[in-house]
Each structure stands twice: as C-alpha cells, then as structure tokens.
C-alpha cells in the first residue's frame, strides 16, 4: 500500500483536497490550526491502493506547537512514502518556506499548487514547469473545491521525486556539514535524515523524541556561537531569514505578478473589519445567529416533542408499576437528547461552522482581541467561547487552537460557564416562559458580565498571559458544503456518543430513585445548597442531576415538583436563582470528561470547584438583589 501524507499550511485547502480524493472523513477548516487530529482515508492512485493521511495544517516543521509536532513526527516516522505538499498558490511566496523545509526531509515529494483560480485573481501567474525544475519534484496545478486537476495530482504521486535540498550561505553550510558528519554514523540506524537533525540542532531546537543521538551539545554550542558572532544574530533567525530570502527568490523566478483585481471580497472586508462599523455588524451577525437558531429551534421543538411525549405516556400506560416509571424516565432522556440536537445544536453548529469556514470567525477574533485582553485572553479564544453557546464539549476541545497552556486553561474554565443549548432550554423554559423573555435575555448579559469578572480575577491569580495574538486572517472563501457538514458531524459526535447515553441513563436512574423513595434523603443532603439560595428542598435532586445533563434539571424539576406548571410551584425569584445556579455550577459530566482529557485531573477539579463557587456566589447575590427590590 502506498502511503501518502498531505502537508500544507493552514487554509491551503488541504482538507478539501483530502475530502475530494480520499473520502469523507476530514474536517476542512478556515481557522488556523483546527485540524489537530490526523485524518486517514483510502484512495486509488493509478491502479495502486493508497492510504492518504491529512496532517494538521502547519506553517513550519519547527515543532513549536502540538499540531506542528504531530506533523513533523508523522513525516519522520518512516510511515510515509510520498509527501504531497499542498500550497495555496495565491500565497506562493510564503508557502515556499514550508516547501523548502520539507525538501530537507529527503522524502519523495509532489507539490500541489492549489487555489490556482485565486492566484490568477490576485494577478499571480506561476510557471509550474520552472518551479518543478527548481525543486526537482513534480508540480501540479489544482482547484480542489471544484475538483480541477485531481486526476493529474494522483498521476503525479506515482512520479514523486526526492527534491533538491536548499543551500544556505557558506558559514551555515559549513556548520551543518560538520554536524552532519558527527550525526551520520548514528543516523544510519535512525529514521531521521542527518541534515534535518543538524539544522534543528543548529537552530537551537530539541531533537525529536525517539532520535538517539550522540551527545553533541558542545559541538552544537560552538557552531551556534560561531554563527552568532559572525552574523550578530541567533542561528535560528539566520536560517529562517535565509530560507525566507530563498523562498522569495524562487517565487520571483517562477511567478510573475500583474495587477490584481480589486475584488468584491476586499470591499466587504473593509466593512466587516472596520474599526468602528465592524463591531455593530459583528453584534448583529451573532444576534441573528443566536436568535435565528433558538427561535426556529423553539418552533421545531414544539412540533417535535408532543408526539414523543404522548408516546412516553402510552408506554407508561402499557407497562404499569415501577418498571414502566423507569422506562418512561429513559424515554424522556432519549427525547431530551433529540429535543436538543435536532432543533438547536445541529443548526447552531452548522451556521457557526459556516461562519468559520467562510473566514468570519478569525475576523471576530481580530475585532475582540483588545477586549479579550482585559480578561487576560486573546482574540483566538473567541472560537471556544462561541462554540460554548452550542455545547461545552466542542468548546473545550476547541481550546487546542491556543498555543499557550495557561490560555487554554483560562479559556476552558470560562467557556464552560457560557450557557450551552441545554442551559438555554432551561433559561427560556423556566425564566423566559414564567418570568419574562427580557429577564431571560438579561441573564445572558449577566453571564457575560460574570465571566468578565471571573476572567479578570483569573488574570490576577494566573498571570503570564501568552505573548499575544499572532493569527492569520484568511481571505473569504465559499466553503464546500461537505467540509462544513463534516465539521458539524465531528463536533456533534461528542454529544451523540457521550452525552446522549449519559442523559438516557441518568433520566432512568432518576426515575428509579423516585420509585425507591430516596429523593427525600438526597434533598436533605443538599439543604446546604438549596436553603441559602431560598429554593424549596425538592429542587435539590434536579440540581444534582443537572450535572449529568443540564436540560435534565428542567425535566426533573417538573417531576420533583409534581407539575410542569412551574409558575404555580415556584416564585419568580426562585426560578431566576435556580436558573442562575444551573447556568454556572459544575459543567455537565460530558464536559468534565472533555476537560479531564484536555487539562488533566487537577485542573479539571479546580474548574469544577471554581464553577460551584461562582454559582453559589452569583446565586446568593441575585437572591439578595431580588429580595431588596
């Protein structure tokens, strides 16, 4: 089996290409670094079956972040027969720097000049034949979104060649040669090319894990010092600058730049990125997204749930006694999942993925970066935050796009306090319905306010913000429908496979507890929470089970109070306090699992404890305010 790896910078259309040639399992993204997982697919190259791997988008192989490290380690794992370097032709000059890094790996390679249409629009005319001569590898022109040039690309994979390695200035080459000489004997039984290792060491990088190298620290130090003295600059910078110059030279040799069309997209951008108008437009876009999704979702849910509920009632009628009760509990959990996913989560994730792939989300990141600084974060955190309004699980997973570990922790800790679709159901089902829609809406503003305060506090206790925003703003692109759907599916998968079963089991379990008559005991245990908040004791169990799944707390509130007419059973103030507590306290189990995976046990426990503290504090505060007025 031929093993082919797709490597390219973020937004080079790599994932779209993967979708087109190797099936339906990649996630195409217009936000730098979102494809952190490896994606595999099968394709026929000529007559040969091939395994195609889509590596995360990387700007370089210097292994500065997890995605780059993964890409580099995979390329050097010895599991790759052919490297396909996917290049955004409209950014050829910059993209060639990664191409040059790849040439040093000594693997057979093909360069795929993707987005040729966009390059032409920008007035960049590329001589592919000449580029092929310079690099010593086949060069193919494609437009992956429209399927142009894919056949030629597959044919070229069979013609892949080991590229010409770049030559640096004499002093750098001399230092490299000396190191290569020392490395070569050891590298004989290692899969890492000695020249690549030499360059890595000279740049001051750590050798890849698994590279068993002789101790060259003295030699490396001497070589580094020599270049440092000779050039007055760090060798890493010297090499980077030379590679940059080389890429530029190749670009000038093979491409001709004529006048670019001033496109419609640029004019849109001057509005959407406007230093003043950009903000109202952003607020309008986001409000339209939320309002549209939840308004239409509410209507859909109204059609969806009654038949399901009458089904539950029918089952309960047919199977009398405790078994029927438990069964009906399980069914309610099943329906609750449907009631969240179909009407709310699916459309929300779809439109958000669309905005992301069009390229608007990075722009939101640009616009809000200054504000995010106030809470000790950067513009990039906006993606996890926005996802948080859909579901906290993908929000926590999306913190991977942040480079800094501390930023990931703070973003995750704050993002789980954002009301997800499930909590939105509670907000509108309880407060919106019985107290008033404007009160419900103001809970969102309160939520943002509390998150801002929590962020400011975290900034005090966890200083050492990452170095700041460095983010590419990709051009607007019409994403392929398939790529958007795949992204939605990958984010939804977590809900369906983890959260939904939990929901069903928990709902059944709750009914069981009721049947067994343990409810009172649990409620008594929870008096320290419910009593200070001024909530009736029966609310305790629904609160506990909200940990399993937040929307459950509404269903269970109905069961606990023995009525779904909450207005008759609870005061307005109690409903508001209950809802506020539900918004902030411990994220649901599925989210805790996601946090555990991303942050580890200790930090997860900290986040969980912190959210309970915040929920209690805000709940008491609201109670006090409502009591005063």
């Amino acid at each position: 089996m031929l093993r082919v790896a797709l490597v390219g910078q973020p937004n080079s259309g790599k994932s779209t290409l993967f979708n087109a040639i190797a099936g339906y399992r990649a996630i195409a993204s217009n936000f730098p670094g979102t494809t952190v997982e490896l994606l595999r697919g099968r394709a026929l190259v000529g007559a040969r079956p091939a395994e195609v791997v889509d590596l995360p988008g990387t700007y370089s192989l210097l292994a500065g972040d997890p995605a780059e490290e993964l890409a580099r380690d995979y390329l050097l794992s010895g599991e790759v027969d052919v490297v396909v370097n996917v290049v955004d032709a409209s950014l050829l000059g910059r993209s060639l720097e990664l191409t040059l890094e790849l040439t040093e790996l000594g693997l057979p390679m093909v360069v795929c000049l993707n987005m040729m249409d966009e390059a032409r629009r920008k007035g960049i005319h590329i001589d592919a034949v000449k580029l092929s001569e310079v690099l010593g590898v086949p060069v193919v022109e494609t437009v992956a979104v429209r399927g142009v040039g894919l056949k030629e690309l597959l044919a070229a994979i069979l013609e892949a060649r080991v590229p010409n390695a770049p030559r640096y200035s004499a002093d750098v080459e001399r230092a490299l040669a000396a190191l290569v000489e020392r490395l070569a004997p050891a590298a004989g039984n290692s899969k890492f090319p000695p020249r690549y290792l030499a360059e890595l060491l000279l740049s001051g990088g750590e050798p890849p894990s698994g590279a068993e190298l002789p101790d060259l620290s003295a030699e490396v130090e001497a070589a580094r010092r020599e270049i440092q003295v000779g050039r007055g600059e760090d060798p890493a910078l010297v090499i980077a600058a030379e590679r940059h110059a080389m890429a530029l030279r190749i670009f000038e040799d093979v491409a001709r730049v004529t006048h670019a069309e001033r496109s419609f997209r640029e004019r849109i951008d001057s509005l959407l990125m406007h230093r003043i108008l950009g903000y109202p437009v952003m607020v309008l876009v986001l409000l339209a997204l939320f309002y549209g999704v939840f308004k239409v979702g509410g209507i859909l849910e109204g059609f969806l749930l009654p038949p399901l509920d009458s089904f539950t009632a029918a089952v309960e009628g047919m199977v009398p006694g405790p078994i029927g009760k438990v069964l009906s509990g399980a069914l309610q959990g099943l329906w609750a999942g449907i009631g969240i996913v179909l009407p709310y989560l699916l459309p929300f994730l779809f439109f958000l993925a669309f905005l992301e792939d069009v390229g608007y989300l990075p722009r939101i990141g640009f616009l809000v970066d200054g504000l995010m600084h106030k809470i000790g974060l950067h513009g990039k955190s906006v993606i996890p935050f926005l996802l948080g309004y859909g579901c906290s699980v993908p929000a926590v997973l999306a913190t991977r796009i942040l480079e800094d570990e501390r930023d990931r922790l703070v973003t995750a800790a704050l993002a789980v306090m954002i009301p997800c679709a499930a909590r939105t159901v509670v907000i509108f089902g309880l407060v919106g319905r019985y107290v008033g829609p404007w009160i419900a809406f103001s809970l969102y503003l309160l939520n943002i306010f509390i998150i801002a305060i929590a962020g400011t506090l975290l900034r005090k206790f966890l200083p050492g913000m990452g170095p700041g925003l460095i983010m590419e703003i990709p051009p607007y692109r019409l994403p392929s429908f398939r790529a958007v759907l795949l992204k939605v599916w990958l984010r939804l998968r977590g809900f369906i496979t983890v959260a939904w079963p939990t929901l069903i089991a928990a709902s059944a379990f709750f009914s069981l507890i009721e049947v067994l008559g343990w409810t009172r005991f649990l409620n008594t245990l929870l008096l320290p929470v419910t009593w200070p908040l001024g909530l009736p004791a029966e609310v305790g169990v629904p609160l506990v089970f909200g940990i399993l799944r937040k929307e459950l707390s509404l269903i269970m509130l109905g069961q606990a109070l023995g009525t779904v007419d909450f207005g008759a059973a609870l005061t307005g103030a109690a409903m508001v306090v209950f809802t506020v507590f539900v918004i902030f306290y411990v994220p649901c189990l599925a989210t805790v699992a996601a946090l555990w995976r991303e942050l580890g046990r200790r930090k997860t426990l900290l986040v969980v404890a912190g959210t309970v503290g915040v929920a209690m504090a805000v709940g008491l505060l609201i109670r006090a305010i409502l009591w005063l007025f």
Binding site: Y59, S60, L62, G64, S90, L91, G93, R94, E97, K122, I124, G204, E233, D234, A236, L237, A240, A241, H244, A245, M273, R275, I276, G278, P362, G365, F366, L367, V368, D369, G370, L371, H373, H378, G379, E403, P467, G468, L469, I470, M471, E472, I473, P474, P475
Partner: protein
C-alpha cells in the same frame, strides 16, 4: 508621514510599508512570527488597527496576519526601506 529611524509595527500608521529589521522577543515569539513570514528582511504593510488596544492587521507576503499590540511592539521595522 516621515520617519527618520526605525519604529515598531505598533507605531507604523495604516497604509505604510516597511522592512522588518529585527524582532525583540524570545525564541518562541520569533518562531511563531517566522512561520507567518514575519522575519528580518520581509516587507510588511500595516493594513489597519483595531481600536481599544486591539491588534494590528499586517500584510506580509500577500497574506494578512493579525498581531496583538504586544507582539507588534516587538517587531522593529525600517519605514525608509
């Protein structure tokens, strides 16, 4: 506007071009900027600046890159070149 000497990217007003002279930051920062083509010798153009201490939008190598103010301050450029 006329510049006599090196400035940093935070100071350079929108619409102006300059050549990167050096980056006054640690290895991590240098590496992250290098990846996006912001290296000594590269030509950059400031496209716009977000308000309230927001990032600077820079064009480099035909691509647009947003740099937080703190980052932009560390990129020294020569506006005359």
């Amino acid at each position: 506007m006329f510049f006599n000497s090196f400035v940093d990217l935070e100071t350079l007003p929108p619409g102006h071009r300059a050549r990167v002279v050096r980056i006054e930051g640690g290895r991590g920062l240098v590496a992250r900027l290098t990846r996006l083509g912001v290296v000594p010798g590269a030509e950059v153009k400031v496209v716009s600046r977000a308000p309230v201490g927001g990032p600077v939008l820079v064009e480099v190598n035909g691509a647009q890159v947003a740099l937080g103010r703190g980052v932009a301050r560390k990129v020294v450029v020569d506006p005359r070149a």
